[in-house]
Symmetry: C2
Subunit: 169 residues, 2 copies
């Protein structure tokens, strides 16, 4: 019984250590970091200008807005592609729900994901120059989800420098 | 025949003069001015931060985004109501259309209206402190349309200082 206890304790301790290592890997001093790409939620993005809104039908049922940092906005407005190094795009998303105030309108409900694209030609050479991050409640989702980002962008919008969202006039 | 010509020319000239007076009334040196309220499209609003997106079902079929000036954003984030003097909210709207790149998504099509709310307690005392402007292609719509703005806001969201749009978390 004692041996079993000790093995159990060792296993628990090892699990804790591994868990801590995992946690340490997913953070640095500027906040949580997405797997694979090391992308972070950029500071101040909630004040960035609008690129465009979008709506997602079922099963997501979301309202979304893409915002861009100054490099992104200059590139969009100047129709510059590929986007330059330092471009950052952030997509905010919420469940859409009926407006309680005006029947034909849908408005944001609970926040769902925040998704980030960062342009760095060298660092992300293997994925068209883009690093991707997907966050829920400020924390990155798992590696498996991050593996899906670039494949989808590459299959659908490679000809627009892998960026789905167009500037809303 | 000559008399008819002269009357025609006089009528045309009068029409031109009236047209010019109308045009002069609808503009000042900072751009076109909405009827009733004298509200303008604020400079630089396309770079303002996001308050929230919305979607409008048929018959409008629009995607919309409300952005706010710094006073608006501070009031939203601090949950301050009534909004202070100098608050400006702008709603941009586009027809929504299916994304050519991703079937479940709808994205902005043609721009439709840009709508403005300006807070000035004294100037707009008769309408809850708000002045309204609705613009299409940078030009204000007619007075009849502007007469409908406040009545609708007052009947539905008076308890939220006449503002439909809530801050998207």
């Amino acid at each position: 019984m004692k041996a079993v206890h000790i093995i159990g304790l060792l296993a628990a301790a090892a699990g804790t250590v591994l868990g801590l290592v995992g946690a340490v890997q997913a953070f640095d001093n500027r906040g949580p970091v997405a797997p694979i790409y090391g992308v972070r939620l950029p500071e101040g993005y909630r004040d960035w200008p609008l690129v465009a809104p979008a709506q997602e039908a079922a099963p997501l049922d979301e309202l979304r807005v893409v915002v861009g940092n100054p490099k992104a906005m200059r590139a969009y407005r100047g129709k510059v592609q590929p986007f330059p190094d330092g471009t950052v795009l952030v997509k905010l998303a919420w469940k859409h729900e009926p407006s309680p105030d005006f029947a034909p309108a849908s408005v944001p409900g609970a926040a769902t994901t925040v998704q980030v694209m960062v342009k760095d030609f060298r660092r992300y050479a293997a994925t068209g120059g883009w690093g991707y991050g997907r966050f829920i409640d400020g924390r990155p989702v798992d590696e498996a989800q991050h593996r899906t980002c670039h494949a989808c962008h590459a299959s659908r919008v490679k000809q627009r420098d892998y960026v789905f969202t167009r500037y809303a006039p």
